[in-house]
């Protein structure tokens, strides 16, 4: 269990802003989803308060991606309700676009737009969705690019950047919409080891500022340092959830124990 004690960043984490409020950011009640006849998500109940940092883990194919993609309606669910930021997810397109502009998302493969420069990637949605004037959008974009430490790449194209840099741009691009919630779907799984750290560092910085975050990740160091709740999924269900220390040191279900022993090595 040595990896449990390796920290993701060497510095001490500033927890002064990391406060969980009573306000509810996301509420999922009795949610079910099928792909055809395949029951991917089974009776999911999950409440996320504002300021919470939740890590979702579980074996591949357990429905982690599907769950967080339901939250911004990239996948539609068939039963139950999802309320994001006080808005009930329905089929209304206006409603969906509104929720998506409030919820940022980072993907495993970044999904930057290769035909636009880094700066244009970051200003596209603010200009067209928020109707921000171009100058202002560019200033915001530069602010966030500085934050993720790549302002000097602003005029390059995504294809010219390393994977870690691209993922940080993707984070900056989401932040430019000033989201109240951030979703991460295995943001470091497609990266080389030396780049994982720079991305995690950016995510930790975000957590320190009090962002509400849902991260699907297998970076257990990150979970231990930053998360205030770890959720374990298997077979489309939430099998266990607990505070990180408890989750790692004292797992309850057999599935969790088995998973942890695999992922943490022997």
């Amino acid at each position: 269990m040595s990896e449990l004690h390796t920290d993701t960043v060497d510095r001490t984490i500033d927890r002064s802003q990391m406060k969980v409020s009573d306000e509810i950011a996301i509420e999922i009640v009795g949610m079910n989803k099928w792909y055809g006849t395949f029951h991917v998500l089974r009776d999911i109940n999950l409440t996320v308060n504002r300021g919470e940092r939740i890590v979702i883990c579980g074996p591949s194919g357990s429905g982690k991606s599907t769950l967080i993609r339901c939250i911004n309606a990239l996948e539609e669910h068939q039963q139950g309700s999802i309320v994001v930021d006080g808005t009930l997810l329905s089929n209304d397109l206006k409603n969906i676009d509104r929720i998506r502009s409030e919820v940022g998302m980072c993907f495993q493969h970044f999904n930057l737009f290769p035909h636009l420069t880094i700066l244009e990637n970051c200003t596209l949605a603010p200009i067209w969705v928020r109707k921000t004037p171009k100058r202002e959008a560019e200033e915001t974009a530069m602010y966030f690019l500085e934050k993720v430490k790549i302002p000097e790449q602003a005029d390059k194209y995504p294809g010219q950047l390393s994977g870690g840099q691209q993922q940080r741009v993707a984070i900056a691009r989401s932040l430019c919409m000033r989201p109240r919630i951030m979703l991460f779907d295995e943001p470091t799984s497609a990266l080389d080891p030396e780049m994982i750290k720079e991305v995690l560092d950016t995510m930790i910085q975000l957590a320190e500022e009090g962002m509400t975050m849902l991260c699907v990740t297998h970076e257990m160091g990150f979970a231990r340092q930053v998360a205030n709740r770890v959720i374990f999924m298997a077979d489309g269900q939430i099998v266990e959830q607990n505070e990180p220390e408890e989750f790692f040191l004292n797992p309850q279900s057999d599935r969790t124990k088995q998973f942890l022993s695999q992922i943490l090595g022997h």
């Binding site: 998506r100 409030e102 999904n111 737009f113 035909h115 067209w128 969705v129 919409m177």
Partner: protein, 439 residues
Amino acid sequence: MSETHSHSASYVRREMLPQQDPPALQTGAVKWLRENLFSGWLNTILTILSIFVVYWVLAHILPWMLGGIWTADSLTECREIRDQLYGEGGREVACWAVLVDRWHQLLFGFYPDDSYWRPILSLIVFGAAVAPVLYESVSRKLLLLTPLAPFIIFWLLWGGTIWGPLAVLAGFVLGWAVFRFGEPVIGSLGATLAAILVPILYWLFAAGPIASGLSSALPIGIESVPSDDFGGFMLALVIGIAGIVLSLPLGIVLALGRQSDLFIVNKFSVIFIEVIRGVPLIVWLFTASLLLNYFLPPGTNFDLMLRVIIMVTLFSSAYIAEVVRGGLAALPRGQYEGADSLGLDYWQSMRLVILPQALKISIPGIVSTFIGLFKDTTLVVFIGLLDPIGFSNSIRASTDWNGVYWELFIFIGLCFFICCFSMSRYSQFLERKLRTDHR
């Protein structure tokens, strides 16, 4: 491998070598020749064989072309001059005089010859209007001309009162105004519908009377030229350019329709594309020239050329749709999701994220379709329009030039080749310009 890491001194260079020129046989023309033409005995034989073939072809064609006769009034005169120059039965030479005599027909058909400036000016206007679209370095101010160009060109080519095109143009302005001022009141869906319906009603009922009223009050106009007088290469250009300009947007819409989840839109696009593609263009052209008369209300005189343009447009838009669909399918799903997750709506994500990339992938296919369309305009000869091929027939039918083939076809071929080759070069330029992946 291990040697490079070993510490045995013999493998380690102590003084650095200065930069040296590569061996003479490895550079420049010699190297190129060796690598590309004489790299092996098979290659060497092929090289010699090709040189011989090229020589043989040129040896026959060049004297024929260069020795051509430029001044004569008929083919018989041409032959007399030839016999004088080279002796009877000496050598065959081209009779370019036919081009000198008839170039205006090959290019302009029966267009009145004191008005040739009008198609030429139209071409210039067209060039100026597309230049800012094709090249970023061209002044953006020219973009103001782009939406007006179709009306200017239409007026220049067909002539007549200026109020006709202006009245049609006013319909677009009307539609824009209805949308602009209607949207805050009746919402965007209602405003869109109104912005489509109001101009259509206006064109059907108001535009005609307004235009004729204005033209009788204020007769400004140029001599009107009926479509029947259009011909030659100009006809091919008008049909080709109109078809190209109109079929691209229509094809994109059809491609999006074929991808759509909306049942009706999807099925309509699929059926449209399959039916149009499944039937030869010539059949559609005959449909345009014969059948449409039965369907249109009696007495409507729907210009044949306009019908041909519509058919050619529909035909190539079906091909464009399939080419663009290929581009859309080639994009990773992550691009759609990336755009969605940022809150862009369907049209925004299509216009800003998906289509720019899909179209970039489809450029070679789109340009091939355009080139095909442009060359297919020669098919209109079968429904009685006098395109360049049609004119070559009628020129040959005259007693003066009976028997002239190659000279005319070479000229026509050259005209088409210049246009098609420029399109092809432009597409390569565009592909290079849009390459941002830096692989």
